[in-house]
Symmetry: C2
DNA sequence: ATTAGTGCAAAGGATTTGCATAAAG
DNA sequence: CTTTATGCAAATCCTTTGCACTAAT
C-alpha cells in the first residue's frame, strides 16, 4: 500500500521534493501514526532512519503543512502540536481516559444560521472532550 | 462598580485571599480587560502597580483559574494563553481582521444527538474564525 | 555550479520553578 | 511564630533559527 515509490509519488504530486527523510516521515505518518507529536515522530525516526536531526523533523513537517499533506493541530489539552494526515475538514474528540484523539465528521456540528448574518466564517474548530461509552453504559 | 472593597469581597467569596496584587489584577480583569494575555496584564500592572513580578502575575492567574474566577483559553491562532472573566459556558469567534476575540452564546452550536450514544462529553470547545460583516455586505 | 535540504547547536518565546525575603494572620 | 504570598533569577519545554556541510540537479 504505502511503499517508498508510492509515497515518493505522492510527495512529488504535492510539489514536495522527495528526499529520503521526507519519504520516511511521510510513510510513517500515512501507515502507522495516528495523531503524532514531533516527539513521537522523532522517536520513530530514531529507530528507523540512520540519522535525522530534530530540525529536519520540524522542517519536514512545516513543508508538509505548507503543501497541505498534513494538518497541524494545536489543541488546548497539550502544549505539543500534533499532526493529522486527514486533511479533509473534520473535528476531534479527545478521550480523557486514553488520551486518544478521534476524528469526527464535520456534520456532527451544526451552527446557528443566524451566525452568518454577522460573520463570514472561514474556519470552524471544534474539540469535544470526554470519555467513550462502554457497550452497556446507561445513557439517556 | 468595581471598587477595591467589592473586588476584595469577590475574591474572598471565591476562597482567594485578597492581597493587593490579586485585587489589582482582578480589578483590571473585571473592569478593563477583554481577553488579555499575560503580557497585556503585565503591561497594565507595570503602569498601575508599584512593583509586581511576572511570576506573581502567573501565580495570581493560576490561583484565579483554580478558584474558577477566570477561564484560561489556549487558542490555536496564538502561542499565548488568554484569560476570560466570562466563566459561563460559551464559545469564541476570532476576528481575523482585528485580532479581536468575541464571545458566542453556546446555543449557536448544536451537536448531533447521536454523539452521546458513543461519547460522554464533558467539554465542548468551539472556535470560529473569520471576519465580521460590515452593515451592507451582501450575504446569501 | 547553483539550488535545495540536512545536521548541529544555539537562540527564542512562553511558562514554571526554587528559593530567599516579606507580609499577614 | 507559622503560614502564605511575593520577587527574582534560573530552569524548562517546545519550537525556530543561523550557519556550515552535503546532496542533488
Amino acid at each position: 500500500m504505502y511503499d517508498t515509490i508510492t509515497v515518493s509519488r505522492q510527495l512529488k504530486a504535492a510539489g514536495v521534493h522527495p528526499t529520503a527523510q521526507r519519504i520516511a516521515i511521510y510513510h510513517y505518518l500515512l501507515s502507522q501514526a495516528k495523531h503524532p507529536t514531533v516527539e513521537d515522530i522523532k522517536a520513530w525516526v530514531d529507530q528507523n532512519f540512520p540519522k535525522m536531526s530534530l530540525a529536519t523533523v520540524y522542517n519536514t513537517l512545516r513543508t508538509f503543512v505548507e503543501a497541505k499533506l498534513v494538518k497541524e493541530l494545536k489543541l488546548p489539552h497539550s502544549s505539543k502540536t500534533v499532526y493529522d494526515t486527514n486533511v479533509r475538514n473534520h473535528h476531534h474528540f479527545f478521550d480523557e481516559d486514553s488520551g486518544e484523539l478521534i476524528d469526527l465528521d464535520p456534520a456532527v456540528v451544526t451552527l446557528d444560521p443566524a451566525l452568518k448574518r454577522k460573520y463570514l466564517i472561514t474556519h470552524i474548530h471544534v474539540l469535544l472532550r470526554g470519555t467513550q461509552r462502554r457497550k452497556y453504559d446507561d445513557h439517556a
